[in-house]
Each structure stands twice: as C-alpha cells, then as structure tokens.
C-alpha cells in the first residue's frame, strides 16, 4: 500500500465512520427533529403533555368558522384519520385555505381542544397555473353533482 492509497483509505474510512455516527445521532434525536405532530400521533399520546407543541395536518373542508370580531377563528385539523378542533386568534397567513396544509403551535386542553398561539400555512409541492387548478376544482364539483 502506497502512502497515497493509505491516505485515501483513511479519508474513505473516516467518512464512513462519520456517516455512521451521524445516522446514529439523527436516529437518537428522531423524535426531537419533527416539526409537528399529526392528529393521529396526538391521539396515540405521542405529543408532549402540558407543554406547547405543534400539530400539522389539513384544514377540514367547511370547518372554518370566523367569530364576529373578525380575528378569532375555529377550524378542524385532520389527517383524514383523526380530527383536532383548533381555536386561534390572530392573522392567518395568505396560504391558509380549507383543504390545505396547516401547522399550528399551541397547547392541548383536557377536552382535546387545541388553542393555537401561531398558525403557519404549509404549502404542498404542487405548482400549477389557475386554469389547471380550476379544472381540478371543476372535476371535484362535477363529482359532487352540484348545479350552480
């Protein structure tokens, strides 16, 4: 083995050890690295109790209710398995829509109601022009056979 080969073997070995260490560390911190918990995880008791945490999911269609003061809103976050009712008082981000992703930070009370202090919209990875979106919406409407 020439010194040059030895150096390359050292570099390769070092990188492999480093990758293994990183994998183990990330694995150990798995639960701390999640940005939010899904309603199913909350129902299973995985979310921290008595502490603020984030929930993430879709805003259920038709669940958004605005209070007369114009700032307080109530909606349901769902992952299509479990639901969590959320109350929030503040300005909602532009991308906040029914049927779209949302991440809310706050606390869960004993009755399973979530009071949010911050609401973030989670954008999905789909980028499409309004015409395409319109076509998708029309298809949904046609499926529901609602005549205007």
């Amino acid at each position: 083995m020439k010194p040059r080969h030895k150096r390359f073997a050292l570099i390769g070995g070092g990188l492999a050890v480093l990758a293994l260490a990183a994998a183990l560390v990330l694995n150990a911190f798995q639960s701390n690295l999640v940005f939010f918990f899904t309603p199913t995880q909350v129902a299973a008791g995985e979310a921290p109790k008595g502490k603020a945490f984030r929930i993430g999911g879709l805003v259920r269609d038709g669940s958004l209710k605005r209070q007369p003061d114009g700032l307080t809103v109530q909606f349901i976050v769902t992952d299509t398995e479990k639901d969590i009712p959320v109350a929030y008082s503040g300005i909602l981000p532009d991308l906040f829509r029914e049927g779209k992703g949302v991440v809310a930070q706050g606390k869960l009370d004993e009755n399973g109601h979530f009071t949010a202090t911050e609401v973030l919209a989670k954008h999905d990875e789909n980028y499409m022009p309004p015409e395409a979106q319109h076509a998708v919406d029309e298809a949904h409407k046609a499926a529901r056979t609602v005549q205007p």
Binding site: A22, F35, T38, N126
Partner: protein, 331 residues
C-alpha cells in the same frame, strides 16, 4: 484545451472538476510506474511533458502486449489523455486553461440566464395558490441546489488534495467556498422573503431550514479556518478535513423533508418521479439552475486564478506572465 468532449459530457455535473483531475484509470503497470516516478506537483509543460510521453511510449512498446497488436492506436489515445489530464493538475498549466475557459462559461451563464429570466417572468403562468409570489423559486431553488452541489465539489477537491497532496486541489476548494456561501445565503434569504407571506413566518426551526443554515455556517467556517492559518499548505489540509466532515450534512439537507415532518414542502422535482409542477415553470427553473451553475464555474475559475497568482507569486512562470510583467514594468 484538449479535454475530450465525450468525457466532459459524461461527467456533466463534475465538469468543473474534470480539469486537472487524476481520476482516469491507468491502464497497465508501466504507466502506473511512470506516474509514480513523477513528482506530485507535476510541472510537465514544455520539454518535460514531451520527454515523459516519449518514455511512456517506449515503455509501452517494451512491456505492453497491446503495443504490438492492433490495439496499439487505442492505447496511444488513452495514454495521450492521461498525460493531458495530469498536465492540468499543475497550477502553471491550469492557470492559462482556466483563463481560456472563463469567457465560455460567462457566455453560457448569460445565455441560460436570459432564457431562464424570460421564461420566469413572461412565459411561466401565475400559480393558483400563491399568485405571483411563487416566482421566487426561480432564484430560491437553483441557489439551494447549487449551495449543496458546490459543497460536494468542494469536498471532492478537498479529498483529492488530502490524498494526492496536489496544490491545485486545495486552491480549487478555497475558490469554491465563497460562491457556495453566497448560494446558501441566497437560498436562506429568498426563502425567508417567501416564507413570511406564504407560511406566516420568516423563519422556523424545522429540519430543512436548520440544516441549510448549518451548511451556510460550514462554508463560513471553512473560509475562516483557511484564512486563520498562514501556511497555505496547512490551511488547505485543515480546511479539507472540515469540508469532508461537513459532507454528512448534504444528504441530511436533501432528505430532511422526507425523513421528518417539516414545514418546508417536499421536493417538487426529483429523479425518481415526474415533477409536480407546470411544464413552463419547470423549464424556467431548470434554465435558471443551469445559469447559476455556469456562473458558479466562471466566478470560481476567476477566483482560483487569483489564488494561483497569489500563492505562486515567487515562481518564475508567474513573473514571466505578460499581465504581471507588464504591470511591473509600468510600476
């Protein structure tokens, strides 16, 4: 410039690396032996290269079975390529080569950039959800890609420098770092500008954003470490170790949106499935990515030329350069 077009295309992503790399397989023992004899900082310009080549040919005629068969021509071609690739590992030969390549990469960057900007602003449709705000992706995504890719190239050079002890490798790594840092910064900054209206927050500590921030700090750390050490060879070594350690962060950035729940959306474009994005938007983004890529190469080559001049300023060939010579006469 005698890099073979075919290999350049094949190693497309590494076109920046291809000049001066010693990664061609060495066919046959005699060639390897010759390479071994050569000093690590090979300076084979002029008679040196010619003599080495002749010795190589003679050695092949003596030892190589192909030398006497019909394959002779092909071996000749292969060896010719090895010589040329080795040649560019020396700062003295790489300096003029880089000088000749820079205008081409500028031209490509301008062409891709103009086409990309035109599509981004005038052809790509408005997004149904985000309106016009989504157009930040034409900067944000290419910058993020380049920030990760440049780091990989930098680490690749760092590894070569550690292994082969070549001077040029370290110079390439330090020439790439500022551009990489710029790309990481652009990625974070444009992301923040987009995040405020769309998500409702400038910044969140989710896995994607945090790991990209760490990448930015890795670049800064690399630059700081290298400039803190006066001896350039030791600075290269220290920087190379740092660059290689930081490489684990790259897959973490890339896969963070898959491995964990993040606020950042998943990848719209990936190698394994069709992109979830309108066709023209995708074209604009890819053209902009190419423009960023070409820009990065051009600007890194300019920087590596400056580094070569600075570190080799006592070498005879630098003083003989017309741009140096002329200036000294004028002074």
């Amino acid at each position: 410039m005698r890099l073979k077009a075919g290999s350049g295309f094949l190693f497309g992503p590494f076109s920046l690396c291809s000049a001066g790399v010693l990664s061609v397989p060495l066919p046959g023992a005699p060639v390897t032996k010759l390479i071994e004899l050569a000093p690590l900082d090979w300076r084979p310009l002029g008679s040196g290269a010619g003599a080495a080549f002749e010795r190589l040919q003679r050695a092949l005629a003596r030892h190589g079975p192909q030398g006497r068969t019909g394959l002779g021509n092909r071996t000749h071609y292969m060896n010719n390529r090895i010589i040329n690739w080795f040649k560019f590992a020396s700062p003295q030969t790489f300096y003029p080569l880089a000088g000749r390549m820079i205008p081409w990469f500028w031209a490509l960057a301008a062409a891709f950039g103009l086409a990309g900007l035109y599509i981004s602003f005038f052809v790509a449709p408005t997004d149904a959800q985000q309106g016009e705000g989504y157009r930040i992706i034409f900067i944000h995504v290419p910058a993020s890609w380049m920030s990760m890719f440049i780091y990989l190239v930098m680490a690749f050079w760092a590894a070569l420098g550690l292994g082969f002890n070549t001077r040029l490798s370290g110079m390439m790594a330090s020439a790439l770092a500022p551009t990489g840092a710029l790309m990481a910064f652009l990625s974070l900054w444009t992301g923040a500008l987009w995040g405020k209206p769309m998500w409702g927050a400038w910044w969140v500590w989710d896995a994607r954003l945090t790991s990209e921030l760490i990448l930015f700090f890795l670049y800064l750390g690399f630059i700081a470490l290298q400039s803190a050490i006066d001896d350039s060879r030791r600075a290269d070594k220290a920087g190379a170790v740092l660059a290689l350690v930081g490489v684990v962060n790259i897959p973490i950035i890339y896969f963070s949106v898959k491995w964990w729940n993040t606020l950042h959306q998943g990848a719209s474009v990936s190698l394994t499935r069709s992109p979830s994005m309108a066709q023209t938007m995708l074209w604009g983004m890819l053209l902009m990515a190419l423009a960023f890529w070409m820009y990065s190469i051009a600007v890194s080559l300019i920087r590596v030329r400056a580094i070569i001049l600075e570190r080799e300023r006592h070498a005879g060939w630098v003083e003989a350069l017309p741009e140096i010579n002329g200036r000294m006469d004028a002074a």
